[in-house]
């Protein structure tokens, strides 16, 4: 009887949050995947027939290049974030605690600013009539008619800007726990700096690296606002196409097909993150998203 009552209490306590998430998260996600197999009606709604045509439309000649661009922008921005976060977090974890706290605060503060405004700041910064462009022209780095905005490179820079702190924090958390005596031991045993770094330091902070890769790569794949504001038609990503199909063409099944594709693209890294979280070692850094 006791265990029955306990079970009942558990269900009562779990029901509000789990019920809410099933209703507003699980069902809508299944709905998106199901809608990818529906036709669209001419009034911008969802048709009442099941069809594979919507999925077939994904072979539309525009899509492969957009999917490819989404992938390379996400991969390259993740690599840049990780490669710059490793030395920076190494430096931060080696200085005095008081200075560590100051630098961490300096890293976090800009990200209290509204997301849209931070992206807009880049638009102002890279603007054709802006100060930065003029400096580049005066230094003969750029020609007067060079365009800094509305190109994939601008999107890349702003993705890195937006997600770099999410790479810095978990890698720093791992570096801070790393025992640096191990590096000295490696030097004593004849390793040079590069060997010690690659074979002792990097394996030591691998959990932080994995968290960093996931928290940069997944949101980068789903970028929509960044290419929308600093990119032009030549820098569109999947997110922009989903929004266009939803708001401009009002073709919801088509938007669903693209979203289903994106969902499957993020499920793999998300599953890796979840398996790691629930079945392997607990890493407090992974909670610090």
């Amino acid at each position: 009887m006791q265990s029955n009552r306990r079970r009942k209490n558990e269900v009562l306590l779990t029901l509000p949050s789990m019920g809410w998430l099933i209703l507003f998260f699980v069902i809508p996600t299944i709905l998106v995947i199901a809608m990818a197999f529906r036709n669209s009606d001419p009034y911008g709604g969802i048709g009442d027939q099941w069809t594979l045509d919507t999925i077939r439309d994904l072979r539309n000649p525009n899509y492969p290049s957009i999917i490819w661009r989404t992938l390379w922008l996400s991969v390259v921005s993740t690599i840049i974030c990780i490669v710059t976060a490793i030395p920076a977090s190494y430096y931060i974890s080696r200085i005095r605690k008081k200075f560590q706290d100051i630098i961490l605060l300096l890293i976090i503060v800009p990200f209290w600013i509204n997301f849209l405004i931070r992206i807009f700041a880049w638009k102002v910064f890279l603007h054709p009539e802006g100060l930065f462009k003029q400096i580049l022209v005066t230094l003969h780095i750029a020609s007067p008619d060079a365009l800094l905005l509305y190109r994939p490179e601008a999107v890349l820079v702003v993705i890195v800007y937006s997600y770099l702190p999410f790479a810095l924090l978990p890698i720093y958390a791992a570096a801070e726990k790393f025992d640096f005596h191990l590096m000295e031991a490696a030097y004593d045993l004849g390793a040079n700096r590069l060997q010690a770094f690659l074979r002792v330091y990097l394996p030591g902070i691998r959990m932080g690296l994995l968290t960093a890769i996931i928290v940069v790569f997944i949101p980068a794949l789903g970028s929509y606002v960044i290419p929308d504001i600093v990119g032009g038609p030549s820098s569109e990503m999947i997110g922009n196409k989903i929004a266009q199909r939803t708001f401009i063409d009002r073709n919801l099944p088509h938007a669903s097909a693209l979203s289903a594709l994106l969902t499957f693209a993020v499920i793999l890294p998300a599953a890796i993150a979840l398996t790691r979280k629930f079945f392997k070692e607990k890493n407090s850094a992974s909670l610090g998203i």
């Binding site: 558990e10 509000p16 709905l31 300096l106 405004i117 009539e129 770099l164 669903s256 969902t263």
Partner: protein, 256 residues
């Protein structure tokens, strides 16, 4: 071995990278020239233009209504979820935990489009109510994670001791558990509140004609309005964020 200075240079470069665009926006908000190729004199006119815009006040009201209501509900749901995850170690809780974790990793645009399809299929009119439902859905997981972090160090035997000494369940929760969890609940609530204030993508998908929030309004200004007015608005919002953070820090210090 001589210490390499390379990590120091990278750290400095990152900090410059983080602050440069923000500093430009600050300077621009006082510049009489629109794009700041040159400094054409100090002006406050962008700020005046901003204050005379009535739509902003409407958007701000909507934003606050949604932020306050969604924070309230997500704090309750998130705290209950954290308690269940802490107290029971069953298979149900593993799936519960995975379910709570998912909204944290899924890109905003996917949550936006799926909720939009959900509301459209059920013929629910888009507006403040749908924005509220969406905001609770994404904030709840953050609250649950933060409160669960606080729970990790909670000694449940204190609750059992109170119950043995004749306290009712209700009293034990109110006098022992809630006060202990309060810093976690407050931090989770603050996070939910800021996430709600900040959200653009999900809100964009589930909003209706009369439910413009501040981020939605900023977005439409970016597309059609004067960039200098947005610069001025950015400066005010940054100042506002700093005041909030400063006050909450003072409050927490006063409590300790």
């Amino acid at each position: 071995m001589k210490k390499s200075r390379f990590p120091l240079y990278i750290t400095i470069a990152i900090l410059i990278f983080f602050y440069l665009p923000i500093i430009i926006v600050f300077a621009q908000s006082f510049n009489a020239s629109r794009f700041g190729g040159a400094w054409k004199g100090f002006t406050l006119s962008w700020y005046w233009k901003l204050f005379s815009d009535k739509n902003i006040w409407h958007a701000l009201t909507n934003t606050l209504i949604i932020a306050v209501s969604s924070t309230f509900v997500s704090v309750i749901l998130g705290t209950l979820a954290a308690f269940a995850l802490y107290k029971y170690k069953t298979k149900l809780q593993i799936s519960h935990n995975i379910l709570i974790y998912f909204p944290l990793v899924i890109p905003d645009i996917l949550m936006g489009i799926s909720l939009l399809l959900f509301f459209v299929s059920l013929n629910i009119g888009l507006g403040l109510v749908t924005i509220f439902l969406a905001h609770v859905t994404f904030s709840m997981s953050y609250v649950a994670m933060v409160v669960l972090g606080r729970f990790q160090d909670f000694d449940y035997s204190i609750m059992e001791a109170a119950l043995d000494l004749g306290a009712t369940w209700r009293t034990a929760v109110r006098k022992i558990m809630i006060p202990y969890l309060m810093p976690g609940i407050a931090a989770g609530g603050l996070l939910a509140f800021t996430l709600s204030l900040d959200d653009f993508v999900i809100t964009f998908f589930v909003s209706g004609p009369d439910s413009t929030t501040l981020p939605l309004y900023i977005y439409s200004m970016m597309r059609h309005g004067s960039p200098s007015v947005i610069n001025a608005l950015s400066v005010l919002m940054v100042a506002f964020t700093f005041i909030i953070v400063f006050l909450s820090k003072k409050l927490l210090e006063a409590k300790e």
